[in-house]
Amino acid sequence: MTIKALEKVSVGQNGIGAFILQCRKIDVHYCDYSGSSRGMNSFIKSQLSKFAASNPQIEFAVSPRPRKHPVLIGHYINGKQNSICVKNMDSLQILNKMQLLRNASGEKNKKLNKPVTSINDSVRGVWSPYHGTGMPV
């Protein structure tokens, strides 16, 4: 007659309640020698500190990567990474790429076929042939 309790863990949805920005770190790699990194170098001097100040949730790591193309690597909370090579780009173009990284979650882009994705039951219920007018044969 007793009721046994099963153990389950609650499920969180980012944004319901508190919101956590999914991008936790961005690596900025530049090169002092190569020409493809000129835009990146000017980006670091002009745009980066303002962007970092407006996004305090992201940890920025700026380091040289000699004789390689400049690259932005975004690290996300789900453990995945996204890298964007910004060779020969303008500093404003690089800023756009950085905003892309900031706005992404770490998930792969998925095609959404349905208009609504939810973990809750449907509000109006699922149709049943055994209730209401049923399914006359």
Binding site: M1, V9, I20, R24
Partner: protein
Amino acid sequence: MKRIRLDRISSQLLQTAPARPAAASGPTRICQTTRTSRLQAPLYCQRRWQSMTSESALEDIKFDEIAERPEQQELPLPSPPPERALYSAKLAALHARLSLSSKIPLQALARALIDPSADANPRFNNANLAFVGAALLQYHTSEMLLTQYPRLPMAIIFSAMKGYSGVAALHQIARAWGVEAADAPGEEVDPGLLQFSLDKASNVMNKWGYVRSESKEILKWKWRRGLSSRVMYDDAFGDMIEKQKQPKEGQPPEVSDENNTKLIFDDRLANANSNFVRAVIGAIYLYCGRESAKTFVKGHVLSRKLDLENLFEFKLPTRELARLCARENFDAPVARLLSETGRLSRTPVFVVGIYSGRDQLGEGSGPSLDAALISASIRTLKSWYLYSPGDVGVPSDTFADDAVRWKPAYVDIGEIIS
């Protein structure tokens, strides 16, 4: 005898001015040999002199803070000093990601990341903060459950508490916050990493509960531990509190000692992560107050979804339903077949409704008559137990100065017993 610190006495070894005056702490006897020759001093002193310049100011401050641990002065610290918290990018990012108020200093967040297994000194680890946070978390979770679902059975309440604010749930929350763990604790670790050790003992966060006198027999001979006694003796999640064997004075607890299993947990990482979440709540309570801590708990923990109907497992639902109707003076429950299809086929469906007089209490469907009956009984019982008066207030709403008068919450008679 107190070890003589030459840097506090002689300024020729320092290139930066010390934070505190050199001979501030009372009379010190200066031995002739140490003043004249550094080479004759023990080796650990020589190592410290070589790294005097920039860390000397930090060491002075640290020395005053760790006055209680004289034996470990020359050993590396078990955790990074609090001053380094201001220079960690990871820590600042974590602080902003959680949208913590600026009233909470970075040093407090750094302290919340240090598990007692990394640093046993209670002034530098998160044990006290986690204790406060655990108490607050359990309080807010339990008041939400009891006011929103007044008829929940006790076993389900324990399980729901675990589902919202147990170790597994808090571990998920900490991972969702992007908390990374250091491979091993130490002084050189980035202050923004979670520090814990796999082989040292950590602390148990129990505000409520007593050690039963028969705890040893319960563990060894698997004695019965009833629910009523769990309410009295066990912790907020219904788990037994085991007797803590105190380690001998001055020695860390032995990992290989099989009698000393009480302080060791199954999943150290999950335990460390959950202690961090509790410590953050404790820090918010400390620096920002009660209301901010409640808002934080509601936003991060209680906003998560846990389907309580999936926690139930019944043994004899038909008998229980009959007892419920008898207690509530309803007519005896009668099961009626509402509709069916495919009785002789491979996949029949029977829809059974449970009626008490002319009122339908609940219905369920199944592949056989018995299965449909059981399903209907279970759904009826769940609809009874999961009754909710809606989002009525919680008792902690009355703590505010401008709170409205408390309307008494619905208190149920209790579970169905035979």
